[in-house]
Every structure is written in C-alpha cells, then in structure tokens.
Symmetry: C2
C-alpha cells in the first residue's frame, strides 16, 4: 500500500476538475480518469452547436489543466467495475487501480424517457460531438433548402424544433433564432433564413420551471420577441424522420421539423449503478451532507450524479454546485488527514441565469444581492460570469475576441459542416412526401 492515500477521481467535468485542483496541496496521490481527453465547459456548448464558438474555445485537455500538479496523473480510460469491499476499480483497458478514496463525478446524459429510438432524430447536447452534430444538421438544413429552390423552386419548411424548456432549450431556441434572423441574412439567394420557424416545446405549464415565475414569463416574452413560438403544456408523443408529434386537445398534432433537438430530460451516468447504493429515479446516487452514499465514507459522489437536498430543495445539476462539491472533497480529506471531523457540505447558491439570444437574459441572483434581473443587464452579467469562469486564459481571450467580433459584425465564426456531408435521408423528402410517409395528422406548416 502506498504511503500516501490514493484518490481516484472519475470524471473530468466541473466537479472532478475542482476536486483534483483542490487536492493539489494535500499529501495524496491523485488519479483522474475520463473517457475523453478534454474537460468541456458545458454552459457554452450551445454556442458551439450554433457556430459562434469553436470546440477548442470551450474545451481543454484534462491533463493540460492539471499539468503542473505533481501529485496528479490523468488517464484516458473508462471505469467498468467498482469493487467496494476491495477498494479497487477496473478500467476498460484492463488495468485495475486501488484507492483509499473514490470520487465519482461522471455527470449525466440525455434521457429519452424510454424512447431511445428518438435519439436518431433529435440529438441532445452534452458533448462536443453532440454540438458538432447539431451544428451540422442546422447548417445543412439551410444548404438543402437553397438547393431545393434551385432544383424545384420550393423547399421543405425550415422548422427548427427544440424539445424541452429548461435553460438549455431556451438558450438553443434563442440562438437558432439568432443565426436564422441575423447571421445569415446575406448568404443565400433563394431562401430567406429569417422566415425559418423556431418552436420551443415544453411539457409543463411554463418554461424555465426551476426559475421564479416572473422570470419564466419574461423569458417567454423575450423568446417571442425573437420570433420563437413557445408551446407550453404540450408533450411530445412521437419523433420521426422530419417530424415531431405533440399532444393537443384535438388529438395528436404533427409538425414538420427540418431539425429537432432534444433538451428535455437527463439521466445520471450509469456509473452510479456500479456502487450498489440507493438511486433516485433518474439514477442519481443519494448522498449525505458529506457527499457520501450511505455507509461509504471513502466514496464521494459529486455534481449531476449526486442527489442531495438542502432546505427542502434538490440541488440542481448545474455547474455551480458541481464546482463547490469538487472543492468540498479537499476540505473533507484535509480533515481526515489531520484527524478532525469532516465539515458538512453546504451549497452556496449565487443564483441561476439563462441567455436568450444575442443580448437578453434572465437571472435569479442570490449573491451579492438578492433579486431578479432580465434584459441587457442580465446578459452583461451572464457574459462576465461566463468569461470569468472559462478555464484557461487562452480560451477566455479567444472566446472574448470571437464574441465581440460576431456581436458587432453579425457573423458567425465557426460555421463548418464537418464529418458526414450527407443530409439525413428524410430531409430530402418534400413536406408533402413526409406527410404521405406517415399520414393522418394535422400539420402546423406555415411556410411554403
């Protein structure tokens, strides 16, 4: 056994990186394991999906972030087994690692509520690859429409459907509206991107359900000013090639959809199951206020993978609590190493915010003052906070340059279609053809 406690951190997101950084000064040996070589700044992923930023603007290699931390090694690998009694994990490569402390911070992924077949037609947004795929679909939809005009004199409706009215859905819908209304206005000769339709579909009665109702209403009004059609109280009952089906009072309603994006549900990483600890219905591990599963003080579960309630409310799966949970690990281990009792974790909530398009946002602020702000001041606040938190000076600087540049010039910096250059087969169908393919439902089609 190593003379210094071995800490294995699984996951290089906000929680894992903060845990690793916090342990830099402690007499422990740290191993960070992630399937990917990079940490992703998830709050700005939608800007990669909508071609404002490049992937490298919001992602950094994990080993680069931790390069000067002598007590830390980074492995690109995947945990396939956790042996709690033996305090050992097994990796996909075949390696096994012993630990004195295990920190699980593998986050969450999309949930299609059991309809995994929808994922083909409605990708979610959790990784750089997801963002590149959404960017590809959105840009290809405009390319195809221009081509259809040249070939046939008409084009399939340019409807963009975002499913889920949480912060990600709101930000995506606003950003799609921006790209269509503002950023491509000189680029096409036969279509008018500004005539695209953007629909935001939310099952509950209001968007941004975790925010105070006044901010939900402001966000909806802002989206509608941008031309986004907000459909609350509607559930998705089907998604197929080129269409989305919603419930309505008159039976199911069929919408043509050139691109559909899924921002409706998340489920915890499957790693929680390997622990054998109690999970909530989304697969999150119930943890104590020391961030341990019951009876496992040597295991910490952090970030989106953890289920922790504080003041009667579940701590949300966003960046701020993930970072604070990461920071907490060092405090707990420092206490252990000096033989003191661990302090309890307490989430210090500074608020929440979501942007809506180019210069609008809503924010619930609880620190340094309490209040609700919206509009341009909220957007400036959002901008400042996000630039400040982006890891690494180089990223911050080039993100700032890209933002300022496209803010003043109405251009998009990263409008590349890479990977598969083919359109999904259904996008070659006419709107009429799509209806014939699966007949019997009303269409909301406005264009064409």
């Amino acid at each position: 056994m190593s003379p210094r406690p071995r800490v294995v951190i699984v996951g290089g997101g906000f929680a894992g990186i903060h845990a690793a950084k916090g342990l830099a000064g402690l007499p422990v040996d740290v191993t960070v394991i992630d399937r990917r070589n990079h940490h992703t700044f998830q709050p700005l992923l939608y800007q990669v999906a909508l071609a404002v930023l490049s992937p490298a603007d919001i992602a950094q290699p994990i080993r680069y972030i931790l390069r000067h931390q002598a007590n830390t090694q980074v492995l690109m690998d995947e945990v396939v087994e956790v042996d709690i009694p033996a305090r050992r994990i097994a990796l996909a490569s075949g390696a096994r690692l012993d630990y004195e402390y295990l920190v699980l911070a593998t986050g969450a992924t999309h949930s299609y509520f059991g309809k995994d077949e929808w994922s083909t037609f409605a990708p979610g947004l959790k990784t750089i690859e997801d963002a590149i795929e959404i960017r590809r679909r959105v840009l290809l939809a405009f390319e195809l429409a221009e081509r259809q005009m040249v070939e046939h004199g008409w084009h399939a409706p340019l409807n963009f459907v975002v499913i889920g009215g949480g912060p990600t859905g709101v930000e995506l819908a606003g950003a799609i509206s921006d790209i269509a209304q503002l950023y491509m206005r000189h680029d096409f000769r036969h279509i008018d991107p500004a005539k695209s339709r953007v629909l935001l579909v939310e099952g509950s009665p209001r968007i941004l359900g975790a925010y105070p109702p006044d901010l939900s209403a402001k966000a909806q009004a802002s989206l509608e000013r941008l031309g986004v059609e907000v459909q609350t109280g509607r559930h998705v009952t089907g998604i197929g090639p080129g269409w989305v089906q919603l419930n309505s009072d008159d039976g199911d309603l069929r919408l043509d959809a050139a691109v559909t994006v899924w921002a409706a549900g998340v489920q915890a990483s499957p790693l929680g199951k390997l622990l054998g600890a109690p999970l909530d219905r989304r697969g999150c591990v119930y943890v104590s206020d020391h961030l341990n599963p019951p009876g496992l003080p040597e295991v910490f579960v952090l970030g989106d993978l953890a289920h922790l309630e504080q003041d009667g409310r579940q701590i949300p799966g966003v960046a701020q609590p993930a970072m604070q949970m990461g920071d907490y690990v060092a405090k707990a281990l420092a206490a252990d190493l000096s033989g003191k009792p661990r302090p309890a974790f307490r989430y210090f909530d500074k608020g929440d915010m979501a942007t809506i398009g180019r210069m609008d946002a809503v924010a619930r602020v609880s620190w340094p003052f309490k209040g609700h702000i919206s509009g341009f001041p909220a957007w400036i606040t959002w901008l400042t906070v996000h630039i400040f938190f982006l890891i690494g000076f180089r990223s911050r600087l080039s993100v700032f340059v890209a933002w300022i540049w496209n803010y003043f010039t109405f251009t998009r910096g990263a409008r590349l279609i890479t990977g598969n250059q083919q359109l999904p087969g259904w996008q070659n169908l006419t709107a009429e053809g799509q209806r014939q393919l699966e007949p019997g439902s009303e269409s909301l089609t406005r264009q064409d």
Copy 2:
C-alpha cells in the same frame, strides 16, 4: 437562355474562390458548387492536424466569403456528369444546370499508387476531416502510452512515421517533433513525449525535391536538429496495423509506427475524367496557355486539376498558381464580353516556402528579390505571407492570437480528441505482439 452568360465554377478552393471573386464586377451569373460548405486554407491544414489551430481558424463557409457578391449563388452539391455538347452539368441532388462557361477547380486528393488499402493505416492530409483524424491519432498515441505504463509498466514505441518528403511531409514531421519535444513536456507522468521518434521517409535522394538542392540540404539539417530521422532513397513496400515496411539493401525493413501519415502522392480529382479531355498520368487535364482543354474554349481547368507547362517546367499544384489561374478567368471573360482576344495566362512565380517546426523555414524567393533564405528570417517571411493571405479578418486575427500565444507559452490550443474515442485495435498490441502478428522482418525499434 439567360441574357447574361452563366458561369458555373466547380470547387471552392483557392482557384474557384479567386475565379468567383474576379467575376464579381462582370455582367455574368455565377454559380459556385462544392461538396463542402467551406473553403479550406490548405497550407495551414497541418497546423490543425497538430493541434495548433482550430478547424474554424483556417476554414470559412464559401457562401459567407461570397455573401456580398450579388451575381453569385453557392450550392453545396456534387457534379456527377458534364455534358459538353449540351453545355450542362448534372448534380448529385438531381439538379441540372446549363452554362455558357464552365470552370473546373476541384483540385487533387491522395494517391496511394494503387495501394488504397494503405489509407486505413496512413491517412493523408487534404481536408479538415483528415486533419482532425490525424490529430486524433497523434493525441491518442500519447494517451495510450501513458495508460500502458500504468497498466503494464512499458509502452509501445512512440514512433511517428511521415511518408513523403515534400513540403507537407516536412511540415508535418517538424510539427510532430514540436508537439512531442516542446508542447507536452509537463503533461504526462509516466512517459516522456520528448523520447518519441519522428521518421520522415522519402523515396527520392533528397527531400523537397522541387526546391534547389541547397535548400533541401538545409531543410534536412534543420529537421535533424529537431530530432527527426530523415530517410531518403527509401520506398515504402508495405503499411499495416502499427508498422511500416521500407526497402533496404538487406531486404525489407520493418518499423513500428504508432501513427503513420501519408504525404507521398497526389492524384487529380476524378472530375477531369468527366470532360473526356486528355489527362496526364496523375489525372490532370492538359490545358493550353488560356487554361482550356483542347478545343473547349468555354471550359477552364484551374489549379491542381490543370497540367500546364511554362518555361519547360510544370506549374506546381500549390496555392499561388491556383489563385492566379482563378484571377485569370475574369480577364478571359472580360475579353470575351468586349469582343477582344483573350490574353495568355502567365504564372508569376514569387517563390516557394516550407516551415520546419517552430521557428525555422526554407524559402526560394523569386520576387521581390531573387534568393534562397532559411532559418528564422525564412520563418518570419512564411508567417507574414500566410497571415496576410488567410481569408477574412476574423480568421487572421484569431490565428495570429493562437500563434503568438502558443509561441510564447509552449502550449497547444486545440488538443481535442473528438469523434471516435477508441484507439485503432493495433495500437493496443505490444511491440512484440505486432512483430508476432507479421513476423520475419527486422525492427528499427529504439524505445522500449
């Protein structure tokens, strides 16, 4: 028939973009067709492959470049048929377009000299996707070696083999050496990236065969100073999973290769064949000094797709002549429109240059003075010329920021592994296992 002549330009590389821009002021209707939505600044592709720059730094949507040009439309599509007598092309989407002038500028792709099965093991570098794939393989090779050290206490040899000693091969070899020697020195705990081997293999007696012999010798000396092993006069006789085989006086020689890159041969785009005009052995179309194939004054063939000799020497397939050929199209059409004879095309050769690693280069200058330069002055010249030519201010600025930043900090801006996170199966073999897989050949392995 349209009252204004219709000009169809196929290919959005240097030649196609310059042709389109040149036609902005003429009374013609221009259609630019490309399979991709973006123009790629190919001379800097190797910097994407080696993680200095992001794809969006060196690529711009074609329709964005031409957005303010009212007489021009852009289609993302592919030409599948050219009907010369009818003056009509057919596109993959099914559309047909009539033309009065056809401009073909679809460039070149890799040639494996009939051994297309090598492409799996040794990707070439012509597109953004190629660059991302090479980046992925290089970065994964280091990740795997670190993982092997943790698991087994040894790792497979970190040999990087670049096949082909032209400018692309030289630039790739220098840049791989840079990333291994300089940019990752703090990142790993178990391997020393600086102990990687970089081999540059060239079949002819010297690298940079199109340059004067003194510059070839200087380039080889510079590469060797960087630790690159230059093997001239050696032909590749086989490429497989994790190895490259070369001819030698003692029979074939087998090298372990964690990553192999192909920079040895190019062939013209297959579009030349559709013309039915005479082709050289690489598939380039023989053109007159008016850039027309024999008997087809309404067809222009430009850039890498054209075979044109001037002063007894074939004009090389690089950016400079491609741009000048593109510019020429407007001059020829302006002459036609005013009833004058077309001028002849003449390539104005300003010289050639290739960089070697971080601050070294060789250049044959023929304008504004004549001479051979090398070392730091040549590198500064290279830097200035390339920044100047990058299309679009945003690209120029952010490329400049990225370069300056990584020059002074020894960091790499875009070290992301995206797409497939799995290593090719053979990289999981041990060096021994690779030898056993295909026994009977000597190994040059130095490490391990």
